[in-house]
């Protein structure tokens, strides 16, 4: 535990600190870049981009070895992965635009075929020279164990650059993500903005390869954005919330994994993000499951209360147990089911308001007002006091019932 605290406070060594900062920056960049993808409803394009990095890693290794180099140089491998990811992305776009296959089929085709080809290259590399090959499999699931100082610097710098690029591009990208048609009308080149968005997604993927691996980097692009969406309806707030959620997942995950070497970094980061998602799904105000269940219960109670009061007006017996419970709890009926004075008064008001609505519908042709009649909205919320007084005049003076 103290190891975890040390790592959390950046006291677990220079490399671990750099990795934690890199993971936080990467998470922040992934959360924000992923928000644009999510709002454009293209979240899974990132899956194709991520899987398409594998052949690039393999080819870059082969090229570097052929040129007499080390082969395992992270910078070189990342450049290779970026090139093949870009090729995969262009292919997805080309298939979806030029053929009648839908984008999801294009994504699936590109991700499986590129990945398959990448696996073929990995087996080729295995046969070439077993000693130098070690480490390429790490790109599948990520690994921070034994990460070189210069690798950590590449990740931290890359993460910072992507965050900076997102800051510069945030306005046009927000506009396009929110309403592409409006953006076009304003003269924004949607296609170029989309391309920039994809460039950022690709950058996040490539930087994330070493840390979380190509299979799970998709999670960092999708989960924080979806999580943030539960908390707000405002685009800018979704954007920065997703960034913070992603950054926090990355930072805490990297710290946890640094303190417990058995815990693989990528899955830990993803599971922390998924935990935040599950909490939001359950407990977010307004859009969470709990909030939805509560508002459903409140609505149900309002309907039952009103139906009960209408029954009181007509002196009909009430049998529904929920209605009886609600009316009793509010003191509108006595335990034996007979209406109290308060209950009769409220019932009389509801009966009167029903008559007022009848008049209102006859008088007002404006359905935007009379259309708001749903049996639950009080008439005072729709019409002014003057208008209601007018309805009352048309209704005639009240007269005693049964007198």
């Amino acid at each position: 535990m103290s190891g975890f605290l040390d790592a959390l406070l950046l006291q677990a060594g220079y490399n671990a600190a750099l990795v934690a900062i890199g993971a936080a920056l990467l998470g922040f960049a992934a959360g924000t870049a992923g928000t644009f993808l999510f709002l454009r409803k293209r979240a899974l394009v990132s899956d194709a981009v991520a899987h398409a990095t594998l052949p690039g890693v393999g080819l870059a290794f082969l090229v570097m070895v052929a040129l007499g180099g080390e082969g395992r140089n992270l910078g070189g491998l990342l450049i290779g992965s970026a090139l093949s990811a870009w090729a995969g992305l262009l292919l997805v776009e080309w298939i979806a635009r030029r053929t009648r296959l839908a984008e999801d089929a294009a994504i699936g085709a590109v991700l499986s075929v590129f990945f398959g080809f990448g696996v073929v290259l990995l087996t080729v590399i295995q046969t070439l020279d077993r000693g130098r090959q070690a480490g390429l499999e790490d790109f599948l699931l990520g690994s921070t164990a034994g990460m070189l100082f210069q690798d950590a610097v590449i990740i931290a710098t890359g993460g910072a650059l992507v965050v900076a690029a997102i800051w510069v591009l945030r306005r046009p990208m927000t506009l396009v993500a929110f309403d592409a048609g409006y953006a076009t009308a304003l003269g924004v080149d949607t296609r170029r903005v989309d391309l920039a968005m994809m460039g950022l997604v690709m950058a996040v993927t490539v930087i994330g390869l070493k840390l979380v691996g190509l299979i799970l980097v998709v999670a960092l692009l999708i989960i924080p954005a979806v999580t943030a969406r539960f908390w707000t309806n405002r685009v800018e707030v979704v954007l920065w919330t997703a960034g913070i959620l992603g950054g926090a997942s990355g930072y805490v995950g990297a710290a946890l994994s640094a303190s417990a070497p058995d815990l693989p970094t990528g899955p830990i980061i993803v599971l922390i993000a998924a935990g935040l998602f599950a909490l939001s799904l359950l407990f977010a105000p307004a859009r969470g499951i709990l909030a939805a269940a509560l508002s459903h219960r409140r609505f149900q109670a309002r309907v039952h209360r009103r139906q009960g009061l209408l029954a009181l007006v007509r002196s009909e017996p009430i049998h529904d147990p929920l209605t009886l419970r609600i009316l009793r709890a509010e003191g509108l009926i006595r335990p034996d089911g007979v209406a109290t004075d308060e209950g009769r008064a409220l019932a009389a008001k509801i009966a009167r308001d029903e008559r007022r609505w009848d008049v209102a519908r006859a008088v007002h042709q404006d359905t935007s007002l009379t259309g708001r009649y749903d049996g639950l909205t009080p008439i005072e919320e729709v019409f002014t006091a003057d208008q209601i007084a007018d309805f009352d005049v048309r209704l005639g003076a009240p007269h005693a019932v049964g007198a």
């Binding site: 080309w94 296959l101 839908a102 089929a105 075929v113 499999e137 954005a225 058995d262 499951i289």
Partner: protein, 310 residues
């Protein structure tokens, strides 16, 4: 031993298993790509890993039946979770899918790393890449072994399993052809004539999950995703008739499996290298090349109303 005997012993069963796995995935894939659910296969093949890890932790063995049950259960859990997040959270399908399969996959990897699996052959790479090359027929001594009951009893059990699943999926496709076709092309009409549209949709996803799990057992998840999409997509670019598309997808799946296996096994030898490359990866790559050709030259590659290539 003659060349033929070598082939029967080392290549016949892997090729057959590859073909059957490819067909079992391609058949439901036809309907999935038409319904824009192509990535369900991707999601299912990711969650198979947590399924088999949990099955291993519960039973302590890597026997096939518990593994298959675990994987099948995980696939159903994933589909249910995706549906729940879509409906309860109001999240678009792609993102809901992305959340579920990555989270479950991460859970599977973590469980695997944390549990002692050193004495069994269970790891992530194996799950991804399969072990098609190792499914050889030890007892075979030549083509004559096909008539030898003792040798036949030694066939890899994966062959029988994938054969049963492929046959079952083929039969289901034929039996439910009309409702599948109607609900895929015109859901409103299918509902209007009283077809249980959502049951058909769920049945399709379950069939896809069974195919994915059975194929995964033998060939790993790369082939599974590739075969769900590439052969049906290729066939879709060649014809406008659904029946022709389904037959075409079976043909392209078979072709990919044979060509991929042969290229992986013998290609490096022809080029002067001494060891084979991943058959699963090569089969996926070949299916992609075939799809690429169809994208460039398929007679029905363009959208209706758009000139081909325009």
């Amino acid at each position: 031993m003659s060349m033929g005997a070598d082939f029967v012993q080392f290549s016949l069963t892997p090729i057959l298993i590859g073909i059957l796995a490819a067909i079992a995935c391609a058949l439901p894939g036809n309907f999935l790509i038409l319904r824009r659910q192509a990535l369900i296969g991707d999601a299912i093949s990711h969650v198979v890993l947590p399924g088999i890890v949990v099955a291993f932790l519960v039973t302590g063995t890597i026997a096939a039946i518990p593994m298959l049950l675990g994987a099948g259960a995980a696939a159903l859990v994933a589909v249910a979770l995706i549906e729940a997040i879509k409906r309860l959270g109001g999240i678009e399908p792609g993102a809901a899918m992305g959340v579920v399969f990555t989270a479950l996959f991460a859970g599977g990897v973590l469980l695997l790393e944390q549990s002692d699996t050193s004495r069994v052959h269970l790891d992530v790479e194996h799950a991804l890449m399969g072990n098609l090359e190792t499914l050889i027929w030890f007892q075979a001594e030549g083509w004559g072994s096909l008539a030898d009951p003792a040798a036949l009893a030694d066939l890899p059990p994966e062959l029988l399993r994938i054969a049963v699943v492929a046959l079952a999926i083929a039969v289901l496709t034929v039996v439910f052809w009309r409702p599948l076709k109607l609900s895929t092309f015109d859901e409103g009409f299918a509902r209007a004539i009283g077809l249980p549209v959502s049951v058909i949709g769920l049945g399709l996803v379950i069939a896809a999950a069974v195919a994915a799990v059975a194929a995964f057992d033998a060939v790993g998840s790369i082939i599974v995703i590739a075969m769900f999409i590439c052969p049906p997509a290729t066939a879709r670019l060649m014809t406008n008739s659904l029946a022709a598309q389904v037959w075409g997808s079976v043909g392209f799946a078979t072709l990919s499996a044979i060509l991929g296996y042969v290229l992986a096994g013998y290609g490096p030898l022809w080029l002067g290298f001494d060891s084979a490359v991943s058959a699963a990866g090569m089969i996926a790559a070949v299916s992609g090349l075939i799809l690429g050709l169809a994208c460039l030259f398929g007679p029905h590659r363009g959208r209706v109303g758009v000139a081909a290539g325009g």
